[in-house]
Every structure is written in C-alpha cells, then in structure tokens.
C-alpha cells in the first residue's frame, strides 16, 4: 500500500473515507437506498455490456439479435432477464430514495447540490428506461416509442423540433433506433456516471443529513467497515430479489414490430410512465380552448422545474424548521402516482 501511495497518493482519500461516519437515528434505515441504487446501476452496466456483444441496432436485425440472445446464446435469456428486471428495480429504488430524501428534508442547506444532481439522475434513469425500451424492436416497444416521442410535439415553439431530434426524422424508423441506441449506450451512461460520481463524492464530503427534530444516537456508525458491510447486506438482499424475478419470470419477446400494423389493444407504457399516460387519458381533448397535450406538457415542465427548485422553495427546511406543507405535497405526489398506476392497470 505504501508503494502505491508513494506513486498515486491513494491513502489521502482512503484515510478520509476511513473517518467518515453515518449518523444513527430512527430513520437511518432509509440511507441504504442510495447505495442500493448504485448497486443496481452497476448491474445494468455489466448486463448491458454483455447484451451489447450480440445486439444489432437496425430495424432489420434488432429483433432477430434479441431473439438469438434468448434462444441461442448460453445464458442469454438470463442476462436479458437480469437487465430488464434490474431496470425496473433500479427505477423503483431511485424513486424510494428520492421520496425518502424528500420527506426527510435531506435537500436542505448545505446539500442543495446533492439534490440537484439527484433529481437529474432520477430523470436520467427514466431516460434509460425510455430509450432502452425500443431496442428489441417488438410491437409494444415500437408503439410505446411512437406515442412517447409524439407527446412533446405540443410543446410551444420547439415541440416539432424536439420530436424530430428524438426520432431522427418524422417517423419512428431506422434513424430513431440508432439515435435511441446511442443515447442508451453512450450519451446517457456518460452523463449518469459523471453525475453519480459527483453525487457520491458530495455525500462523502458532506455526510448524510439528519432529519429536523430527530434525536441522534451516539456513537455514529463508522462508514468503513461498519456501514459498508450494511450496504453489502442490502445489496445481497437486492440481488436475491432480482434473481427471484429473473428466474421465476423470465422476460419474453413479443412479435416483431410492423410499422404498418395497427397498435395492439390495451397497449401501455412501463409502470413508471403510467402516471403521465393516465393523466393524458383523463384529459378531455381541450382545456379552456387549449390542446390538452399542450396543457400536460406545460404542467410537466413546471413540475420538473419546481422539483429542481425544492431546496430553494422550502424556506422552513432551509432554516431548520419543520416543513409540513412540503410533506403534504410529497404525500399527494405518492397518492397520485399510486392512483394513476392502479387506474391504468384496472381500466
């Protein structure tokens, strides 16, 4: 180690990490979800690289390459199932982490930068889900992408432009597949790895936040090795859940996309896009003379902007006071999420 340190100064960050402590209190359990999100992200990278060895991103070969992975490549079905289920678990864990940070007001000063990087990561992870979904080029994937990339058209001033950029043209075709593949495999991973690294470094430097009014217990947990082993324990449980899903419910492949066929009955996006999907279904064609998609787009943009600004809007939390209004807003958000997903599946 001394040999390495003389040449790389590796002991400086290692010694810093050795001193890091994690606060103990009745809500400390929620801290584990951040590390769990990192774990599933790692699973996605490993399984994604493996799938990349056989996947071919053109409309003429994409479906067949996925079919080959599942039917002919040893353990190909398993790698694909791991990748697909892990994407769902990653999004679920990121949402749990997001809400836990929101309710525990961990976004308050001095952790605003952690909140900003975290919200950006949340949207990146959803972006991964959206871009990856088209890649098998089966019927569901094709039409889900057709719908998903149509929604931004009603954004004022730049809607048409956004649609063209996303699709690589007017319609979902070979250019769309190439573009979404590049996003999924290069652009989003580079952004995500950079932001995740920043997010983790900020956490190491600033430590974990203690909720307002909550009593800390002494002594705190040393990060190394005590909390790290707790992280490993959580990852083991997470891995077991993933294996259960991948082995008991292996992911199937639908029929190959036919752009000239009609959309199948009951087509729906993945569960994490159902709130947006169901909101669009709720809406009448026009609201106060305005196109309802335009209204939803504007609402989504306002909501997204508001989300980034939460640490700066919540003055109570910033000054170390309880903030019941934001807690109520958070509960309303969860309720809306659950309601819209349930309605989407039941109706």
């Amino acid at each position: 180690m001394r040999w390495l340190d003389e040449r790389t100064k590796i002991l400086t960050p290692v010694n810093f990490l050795r001193k890091k402590e994690v606060p103990r209190h009745k809500h400390a359990f929620w801290y584990v979800f951040g590390g769990l999100a990192l774990f599933f992200f790692g699973v996605q990278i490993v399984t994604g690289v493996l799938l990349l060895l056989y996947y071919s991103p053109t409309p003429g070969t994409a479906y067949e390459s996925v079919e080959m992975i599942v039917a002919s490549v040893p353990f190909g079905w398993f790698v694909r199932s791991l990748h697909s289920w892990s994407s769902n678990l990653l999004i679920a864990i990121v949402l749990i982490h997001f809400f836990s940070v929101f309710f525990l007001k961990a976004y308050r000063k001095p952790r605003e930068a952690m909140w900003l990087t975290g919200v950006a990561l949340l949207f990146l992870v959803l972006g991964f889900g959206f871009t990856g979904y088209l890649l098998p080029w089966d019927t569901n994937a094709y039409f889900a992408t057709q719908i998903g990339t149509e929604i931004p058209r009603s954004i004022p001033l730049m809607g048409e432009f956004v649609v063209k950029i996303l699709r690589g043209g007017e319609f979902i075709a070979e250019e769309s597949l190439k573009r979404l593949f590049a996003l999924h495999v290069v652009i989003l991973p580079l952004l995500a790895i950079g932001l995740a690294a920043l997010h983790v470094v900020l956490n190491q430097v600033q430590g974990s936040s203690v909720p307002i009014g909550i009593q800390r217990r002494d002594p705190p947990i040393p990060f190394f090795p005590n909390y790290l082993f707790r992280d490993f324990l959580a990852w083991t449980v997470g891995l077991f859940v993933l294996l259960c899903l991948a082995l008991l419910f292996p992911v199937q492949l639908g029929t190959k996309a036919d752009p000239f066929a009609s959309a199948p009955v009951g087509i729906k996006p993945e569960w994490y896009f159902l709130p947006l999907f169901q909101t669009l279904r709720f809406m009448p064609a026009e609201i106060m003379g305005l196109n309802s998609e335009l209204v939803v787009n504007v609402l989504v943009m306002v909501f997204t902007g508001g989300l980034f600004l939460v640490p700066f809007l919540d003055r109570n939390a910033a000054e170390g006071r309880r903030s019941p209004l934001f807690s109520v807003l958070g509960l309303a958000g969860i309720a809306y999420f659950i309601l819209t997903i349930s309605l989407a599946y039941l109706t």
Binding site: R24, Y63, E64, E67, V70, A71, S72, V73, G76, W77, P219, I221, P222, P225, N226, F229, R230, F232, L233, T236, V237, L239, F240, L243, C244, L247, L248, P250, Q252, L253, G254, T255, K256
Partner: protein
C-alpha cells in the same frame, strides 16, 4: 429467416423449464443466505469494536 409469428415459440426454446429455473433459484437462495449470515456476523463484530 425466423417467422415472426413463431418467434415467441423460438424464444421460449432458449429459456429452461420452470423446474430448472426454480432449482437454480433455490441454489442462489442458499448462496445468498450464507452471505447474509456471514455479513451479519461481520457487522456484529465490527459494531462491538466500535462500541455500537
């Protein structure tokens, strides 16, 4: 060239039967359980050292 109408069948041909997958899950479950026990013991040992 594979017929897309038969593709689901071909795909299923690559996926082992439910019995094999369940057996694999049982083995994985055992492996994870050993990990959990070892990690739990290790955490306890570290916590005692740290006075937790």
């Amino acid at each position: 060239m594979v017929d897309s109408l038969k593709s689901t069948g071909d795909v299923l041909a690559g996926i082992p039967d439910a019995g094999t997958r369940t057996a694999a899950l049982v083995i994985c479950g055992f492996v994870m359980a050993v990990f959990v026990v070892l990690l739990y013991l290790r955490i306890k040992a570290s916590d005692e050292r740290a006075g937790l």
